[in-house]
């Protein structure tokens, strides 16, 4: 009987393996806990004169940066990890499309990133006494979730680049900072030149992060002049587009790598 490879089975297995790999390396503490913590600390020092909502804005910025860092890094690294671990060929020789394997990894990385974000908020609340309540906890949870999804999707797009070339690591390292800026994680988008702003609008997390802030801070005037529901809807649409693009690209990438004989390079 021919085996039907179940997508959910593959995504789940891949996610679990990535999590196991993650916890097996004690260094995970550094990017996941220490780095976001330091980001928050710096943000709080920068905004030391302000109070209330603006402080929360700063803390959210730190937290989101934690998410971004681990997602962009993690999804890129989890593929290049396969390259130097020598598991690229074994992974690709399985009869399941690569997108499902990558998706499992990226979901784990983003999950881990959003746990960082919550960790940051908890530090902010408990230690620095930033704010006391979220304006709308339910919408906050919903917008965090879709942001998380769009981060996953973005991660899969990056993963394609990684598989394609051994120069991929260089590309993800370089993309991280512009992404912080373009998504308005660090500065409000309004401060950016127009063409960078245009890029910002096409990135799902930009909308998601704005939605998170709108849900968290009652008095927050969004970087994007839309209601939170529009933000969430657009985030979802962009996310779906990302995933669709990813899976198409991935098939293409695999073909090119097979033609060039670069699958096993490390």
């Amino acid at each position: 009987m021919a085996l039907e490879v179940s997508r959910i089975q593959v995504v789940k297995a891949s996610m679990v393996l990535t999590a196991r790999n993650f916890f097996a390396d004690p260094q995970w503490v550094i990017p996941s806990i220490i780095a976001p913590f330091v980001f928050t600390l710096v943000a709080l020092f920068l905004f030391s004169n302000v109070t209330g909502p603006i402080l929360l804005y700063a803390v959210l910025g730190g937290g989101m940066m934690g998410m971004w860092g681990t997602t962009v890094y993690g999804s890129g690294e989890s593929i290049s990890f396969d390259r130097w671990n020598g598991t690229m060929e074994c992974t690709l020789s399985a009869p399941s499309p690569l997108i499902w394997i990558v998706l499992g990894r990226v979901i784990w990385n983003t999950l881990e990133g959003s746990i960082n974000a919550i960790f940051i908020l908890v530090i902010g609340f408990l230690w620095f006494r930033v704010g006391v309540s979220l304006a709308d906890p339910l919408l906050f949870a919903a917008s965090t979730f879709v942001t998380f999804l769009s981060l996953s999707a973005f991660g899969t797009l990056l993963a394609n680049v990684i598989v394609l070339s051994r120069k991929g690591g260089f590309i993800t390292n370089g993309i991280e900072i512009p992404v912080y800026i373009a998504t308005g994680t660090m500065f409000p988008i309004g401060l950016l030149p127009f063409y960078v702003g245009a890029v910002s609008y096409s990135i799902g997390p930009t909308w998601g992060i704005d939605a998170i802030r709108k849900a968290a801070i009652g008095s927050y005037v969004g970087q994007l002049p839309f209601s939170i529901f529009v933000d969430i809807a657009v985030t979802i649409i962009i996310t779906v587009v990302y995933f669709a693009m990813s899976s198409v690209l991935m098939v293409r990438v695999e073909k090119i790598a097979k033609r060039n004989g670069t699958l096993g390079d490390f």
Binding site: L3, E4, L17, G86, T87, C90, P95, N260
Partner: protein, 343 residues
């Protein structure tokens, strides 16, 4: 099937794949070229890794490809296991075209690469096997039973819950074989599975390969150890620089180098006249002599060992040279191999 119109005898097997009646692997003029590019992507040079390989492997056969480093063994395995596209020519695995039926082929083949590669070192052996079971879509109810059996088969029982990084080189290689078996493939590609192992570790792997053969798997094994191919394989393809230089049963390959049967004579006395007379015998290809303490060793290369030895004895006694000992050395497969790949 559209893809297989060139084949005459095709039937559909239980898995829905079309299948040649006789061969589980068939390549036709298989070529693979690598472009070596410089930093800017310009093509610097080309490597012909395979220049027109033709092999056919029967169902249930244990077929060996032997060749020195860089001969094209891994390239062949990668093409057959759908990980690399041929530059030209065609390859059919289980009756399916390697460039089209990727997933259907992958479900039915198992691939083992030699060396440290292919495992997740930070997790346990068991977790590795369960992960790959999921990747191959093996139902959990099946893998729960099969995985312990595989662990048993490769002799890792009791160690399956340790992290792979704690395994010895040999244990890793055995786990790697188990990994390739999680979906119970009917055809196995083993690419230098004993490379870098100590003799005991290599023997364990050869034992497992014999077991796989007994279990009815078709196997393509590559190696650069001739004795290994001799011990395991029913037929051996010798390749060198991307070309097939011989394809035969081990006994047939040995026959091809019959002329390097070596007759060795240990003699006392002045042997120069003897050597030159022997070298004039019709079936002798070469004669070497070497002083060794009080005696001289004469080595004679010939396809007809026993006949030449008789004639040499006569020549020696005619020249009053005493033979202390004599022997005939049949060529080993190693000799055959070395000669073929050096030519």
């Amino acid at each position: 099937m559209l893809l297989c119109v060139t084949h005459k005898r095709i039937y559909r097997d239980a898995n829905g794949g079309s299948r040649l009646a006789e061969y589980c692997v068939e390549t036709r003029d298989l070529r693979r070229e690598y472009l070596n590019r410089n930093f800017f992507g310009k093509v610097k040079s080309r490597t012909n890794a395979l220049s027109g390989l033709n092999i056919s492997i029967k169902y249930g056969e244990l077929f060996g490809i032997i060749g020195p480093n860089g001969a094209g063994k891994t390239t062949t395995i990668k093409i057959l296991s759908t990980l690399l596209l041929p530059t030209s020519g065609s390859a059919f695995v289980l009756g399916m075209d390697v460039t089209h039926d990727l997933y259907r082929i992958r479900k039915r083949i198992g691939i083992v690469f030699g060396g440290e590669r292919g495992l997740y070192n930070r997790v346990t052996g068991l977790q590795n096997l369960l992960y790959f079971s999921d990747l191959y879509g093996v139902p959990p109810s099946v893998s729960r039973k099969r995985v312990p059996e595989l662990i048993e088969m490769v002799g890792l029982t009791g160690r399956e819950n340790e992290r792979v990084e704690k395994y010895s080189r040999g244990m890793k290689q055995r786990l790697h074989i188990a990994r390739a078996l999680v979906h119970d493939p009917e055809l196995m590609f083993l690419d230098e599975p004993t490379i870098g192992l100590d003799p005991a570790g290599a023997r364990d792997i050869r034992g497992i390969i014999k077991q796989l053969k007994k279990d009815g798997k078709s196997i393509l094994l590559t190696t650069h150890y001739m004795f290994e191919a001799d011990e395991l394989c029913e037929r051996i393809a010798v390749i060198s620089k991307g070309n097939l230089v011989a394809l035969d049963r081990p006994s047939g390959l040995k026959k091809q180098v019959r002329d390097i049967t070596l007759v060795e004579l240990h003699v006392y006395g002045d042997s120069r006249a003897v050597s030159s007379s022997i070298s004039e015998l019709p079936s002798v290809s070469r004669v070497f002599s070497e002083d060794s303490g009080d005696r001289t060793i004469i080595r004679i290369q010939t396809p007809d060992g026993s006949e030449v030895l008789e004639k040499a004895k006569v020549i020696a006694s005619q020249n009053n040279v005493r033979i202390i000992e004599s022997s005939i050395k049949e060529p080993t497969l190693e000799d055959a191999y070395l000669r073929m790949v050096e030519e």
